[in-house]
Symmetry: C2
Subunit: 160 residues, 2 copies
DNA sequence: TTTTCAAATGATAATGACTATCATCTAGGG
DNA sequence: CCCTAGATGATAGTCATTATCATTTGAAAA
């Protein structure tokens, strides 16, 4: 984790930015919630919880900066809020998501899986791909299991 | 086109909704701009241009309704505005997009291309896929060609 | 035909995420 | 120690979208 912060600091200074206390606090919150998909508001509250003083505007600015540096990806699941997702270190593409339309949970997929599709796109459309966004909407395993259980209970009630 | 409107009318009445003049005007605008990616505001202005009287709120409500019926897909290219994209009739999935990061153009891809990826996801994550969103960000053919031309001109200037 | 009533509409107020502004602060170079 | 550019924070402003509510519409019932 420390080394990760160090490397982000280097990325910042490489572009002429400094790792201020506010930026560091923001980065740490993101690292501590690696698998979540925090909104700017979420990050703001989490930073303040850790007694670090910060303004909402700074959080927005920092997240924008980190997006520019490709440390995070700004993603959008259609709920009207931008969320920020840490990239795998060194990853050239943002990773994929499985969004459950029932419980709202979001699962991450780290494998690429799109190599073949990208080759096809490049060849067919002469489009030079820089990044991609892939999201599946559907029913997660937990909700499927709940359905199965409910169907079973329903059947039992009927038979009594 | 007329038959398409008819079929949408049937879809509406199937769920207890009516095809009001405002809804019909909205649908017609969408059909006439099939390959564009109109925002609610765009649709609103286009409907008014055709002398049909309509309120902005009704446009939003109609687009929401059409999204529910899966006649259109609500898509988001990160510019802070939702855009509405007609589905291919009978298509079970929304189609993909190539968004140019230089000129902002959006190209559509109607082929699915994700069959294999979806099989893998279903098997590995036990996730029941209902729909997907796939967007590639990169440089379109036109912008690539412009770059090549500019590089050439630059080289010629140098050699003079 | 007239009545009735739920659905639909339109004007507009409200919301909420995000951005711009600007006075203040900070840290490193001179 | 001073100076200056970059950074910050409070807050006002913007803009897409949603909620509210009075009014209208249209189809079924009387």
């Amino acid at each position: 984790m420390e080394s990760r912060v160090e490397r982000i600091k280097k990325q910042l200074s490489g572009k002429g930015y400094k790792l201020t206390p506010q930026r560091e606090a923001t980065v740490r919150v993101l690292l501590e919630h690696e698998s979540d998909h925090l909104s700017a508001e979420n990050v703001f509250l989490l930073v303040k919880e850790k007694n670090s003083d910060i303004g909402l505007a700074t959080v927005y600015r920092t997240l924008e900066l980190l997006t520019e540096l490709e440390v995070v990806d700004k993603v959008n699941f259609g709920d009207g809020v931008s969320r920020f997702d840490l990239r795998q270190e060194g990853a050239s593409h943002s990773h994929h998501h499985l969004v459950c339309i029932e419980c709202g949970s979001v699962e991450e997929i780290l494998e690429d899986m799109l190599e073949d599709v990208e080759k096809e796109i490049t060849a067919k459309f002469k489009f030079k791909i820089k990044d991609h966004r892939l999201t599946f909407h559907g029913v997660c395993r937990v909700c499927q299991e709940r359905h199965a259980r409910e169907a079973l209970e329903e059947a039992q009630t009927q038979s009594v």
